[in-house]
């Protein structure tokens, strides 16, 4: 204990000699960071909460009038908004489950000795390193019915991926799956490599089949890390904006984030959009909490 204190004091005095005492570090780094967070995160959050109870429109010079819960009441009774939530839910389910299946499947294939494994893994990670806008524009060309390569290779003729209102959402989800499956793959690979080898050896001695080994050893042990992937991807998918906006931007792909953007910055219904943002925030928090509780249960098993 005494040694530790002396070492600490020595370090402090050495830092002080260089002009970087604990106090200086706090003053130069921690306080500005906290101030930054308060000014740019906490203050707008509270300020927008206040606006959500008003009829404020930023496009007018009229003052904000307090309207109580009217914005929340109207939004929760608005069939268009519920439709946006339904579209978002559909998108999240398709996109996240697709990423889970593809990402975990590829990880299973890579979790063995194969030639050029490192190079293949690196190449597979490339999609998630691209910007959303670039991916959106790139896939817009790929989906094009006249000159897109997807229809050409699949022999689909003039099939309209993005123009068909029934297909457009799946086309956006497919792009998202292409982009983010590598993320699930990466986490799954980490989980798979952490499964103790002796469990498989014991299963082999007991003549357990691959089906039994997968469902009784691999999946239960990788499940916690897969749950983390699901939490991250669900939150991300729930707030998807750019990909859907760039690719199609039609009513059947109008995710709740797009509705929020239009309400706030095209229709300038500022108070109402603040209320919608809070509804979305509460929903994301609720979904995340459910996941985290489930994750804890999985860990306890």
């Amino acid at each position: 204990m005494a040694t530790t204190m002396i070492t600490t004091l020595d370090r402090s005095s050495r830092a002080a000699a260089r002009g970087l005492s604990d106090m200086s570090i706090r003053n130069f780094f921690i306080i500005p960071t906290i101030l930054f967070l308060i000014v740019f995160n906490i203050f707008p959050l509270i300020y927008s909460l206040g606006y959500s109870f008003t009829d404020f429109r930023a496009s007018t010079n009229a003052p904000a009038n307090f309207v109580g819960l009217q914005n929340y009441r109207e939004l929760l009774n608005d069939p268009f908004v519920w439709n946006n939530f339904a579209i978002t839910a559909k998108y999240v389910i398709v996109s996240v489950s697709g990423q889970l299946l593809v990402g975990f499947g590829v990880a299973m294939l890579l979790n063995r000795e194969i030639p050029l494994k490192g190079l293949i893994t690196t190449l597979l990670l490339l999609p998630m390193m691209l910007s959303m806008a670039v991916v959106g524009l790139f896939w817009k060309l790929l989906y094009d019915p006249s000159w897109g390569v997807i229809n050409y290779f699949l022999g689909l003729g003039n099939f309209e991926w993005l123009a068909d209102p029934k297909m457009a959402l799946y086309a956006v989800a497919l792009t998202d799956i292409w982009m983010w499956s590598p993320f699930v793959m990466l986490l799954s690979l980490a989980g798979l490599s952490a499964v103790p080898k002796h469990l498989y050896e014991a299963a082999a001695i007991d003549r357990a089949g691959p089906f039994y080994t997968f469902f009784r050893i691999t999946l239960p042990l990788v499940a916690p890390i897969l749950m983390i992937a699901v939490i991250f991807r669900t939150m991300e998918a729930f707030k998807t904006f750019d990909l859907a906006y760039i690719l199609t931007s039609q009513p059947t792909t109008e995710l709740i984030s797009i509705r929020l953007y239009k309400m706030a910055f095209q229709e300038w219904q500022t108070g109402r959009s603040c209320a919608l943002a809070y509804i979305v925030l509460i929903m994301v928090l609720a979904i995340t909490n459910i996941y985290v509780k489930y994750l804890n249960k999985v860990k306890e098993r």
Binding site: D144, E160, S249, Q250, F265
Partner: protein, 438 residues
């Protein structure tokens, strides 16, 4: 001593820098507009102004998709980045009631602009509320939706013969919507990668509204009663329903992937040999007569929006007026520019550069009407145009129109009557929300 000298020199430098900056600010004006050819013409006109007065004009542009958002973000912040804005006609309500535009009523009356400019442009680009005698902009770029077509396809003797055999009348520039539909159907040949018609279908801003209005107004329909804001019985009238059906019918004959198209794609339909006819704003036609941007320039013709079944012939209004932004620090300088802009000589130069002047005198002149293959059609169209709602809540009304019409047009869900009944309900609720109807 050395420190003192350094401080003094720094002070002088700073003073000079500030002085230069102030001088530069006084002698320049920034005009905000969307990114398209007319903005380039306005910049050229601005260069003329700089030569004459020494005041530098900068036309700052942004893509159409961001135009409204960027402009209103700046207005809402009371920013002075722009001194003038060439704002869309439907912004008049929001711009004036929001306090973003300077009241130009006195300027308008002093220069008798109500008589100098074409009546439709005064009504739709400058006055708000309608018939109030209050003006917030000077008509700058007249525009409306018209049509281009492939003259070589239309004039081909074999095509003419085949068309006459099939439809019983001569293939010619369509005089009404029935002929427009027949010609679109006639040239729709997917196996040859040739299609009948290119129309607006984009639902991001006002493309779908403009396209549908072209049919609606010519079919004798209306968006609503502009004086009472009553929409039920107007936007869902029998004529409006027939118009929506007619517009949807045209969609059947468009090229593949034509579900989210606006001005760029509609010009491409002509330049890339895709369609026999293409809807577009007149402001986009200059590039169609330029062989550098249109290999079919020699074979491209133009016509005004055809009449509906009852003989009504109208078109959707585009175009913009120029307004002085109330947060500008250089309003006086901006007013001087407007005084120069409305002069007859300037209006002639504006038209010669490619801008669509709103000056009656220039529009009526043979020189203007014969200057391009489409100027005559433009002149005729500008006297029979109608516009979308210009109320402050226009963006919500536009969004509701897109939400209702797009699924019917592109997705085929429901019927035209159901679509327009629902739209009438949405609009009525919005007008109620803003206290325009009980």
């Amino acid at each position: 001593m050395r420190k003192l000298v350094t401080s003094v020199l720094a002070g002088i430098g700073l003073t000079l820098a500030c002085g230069t900056s102030v001088y530069a600010q006084e002698k320049s004006l920034t005009i905000f507009w969307a990114e398209w050819d007319p903005a380039n013409y306005l910049q050229e006109l601005g260069n003329e102004y700089e030569k004459e007065t020494g005041v530098k004009i900068t036309v700052e542009t942004t893509p159409w998709s961001d135009f409204q958002t960027k402009a209103f973000t700046e207005f809402n912040a009371h920013g002075d980045a722009y001194d003038l804005v060439v704002g869309d006609s439907q912004w008049l309500g929001a711009g004036s009631t929001g306090g973003h535009y300077v009241d130009l009523t006195d300027f308008f009356k002093k220069h008798d602009l109500g008589n100098v400019m074409a009546p439709a442009t005064v009504k739709y680009y400058a006055e708000y509320p309608g018939n109030s005698g209050k003006y917030w902009a000077i008509p700058l770029e007249g525009d409306a939706v018209g049509w281009s077509y492939r003259k070589d396809w239309f004039e081909d003797p074999k095509e003419k013969e085949a068309f006459k055999a099939k439809y019983g009348y001569d293939l010619d520039v369509p005089k009404d919507f029935k002929a427009l539909r027949d010609i679109a159907e006639f040239f729709y040949r997917p196996d040859q990668k040739r299609y009948g018609i290119a129309i607006y279908t984009d639902n991001s801003y006002d493309a779908m509204a403009m396209g549908f209005e072209n049919a609606l107004f010519s079919y004798g329909g209306e968006l609503g009663d502009y004086a009472t804001y009553k929409v039920d019985g107007h936007i869902n009238s029998d004529k409006a329903v027939a118009a929506l059906d007619a517009y949807k019918e045209l969609y059947k004959f468009t090229p593949p992937g034509w579900a989210k198209t606006f001005f760029v794609e509609d010009n491409q339909a002509i330049t890339e040999n895709l369609a026999a006819m293409s809807m577009n704003f007149f402001a986009f036609f200059p590039s169609l007569i330029n062989p550098a941007s249109n290999p079919n320039a020699k074979n491209t013709g133009f016509f005004a929006n055809p009449a509906g079944p009852g003989g009504d012939q109208f078109a959707a209004l585009g175009g913009q007026g120029i307004s002085v932004i109330s947060y500008s620090q250089k309003q006086e300088e901006a007013m001087k520019f407007l005084e120069w802009f409305i002069k007859d000589d300037t209006q002639k130069k504006w038209a010669a550069l490619g801008g669509y002047t709103c000056s009656q005198a220039v529009l009526k002149s043979a020189e203007f009407q014969n200057a391009t293959p489409y100027n005559k059609a433009f002149y005729e169209t500008m006297f029979k145009v109608k516009d979308f709602w210009a109320v402050p809540e226009y963006a919500e009304l536009l969004q509701q129109l897109n939400q209702r019409i797009y699924p019917y047009m592109i997705g085929g869900s429901g019927t035209a009557k159901e679509t327009l009944d629902a739209l009438a309900g949405d609009w009525n609720a919005t007008f109620k929300k803003y206290g325009r109807v009980q």
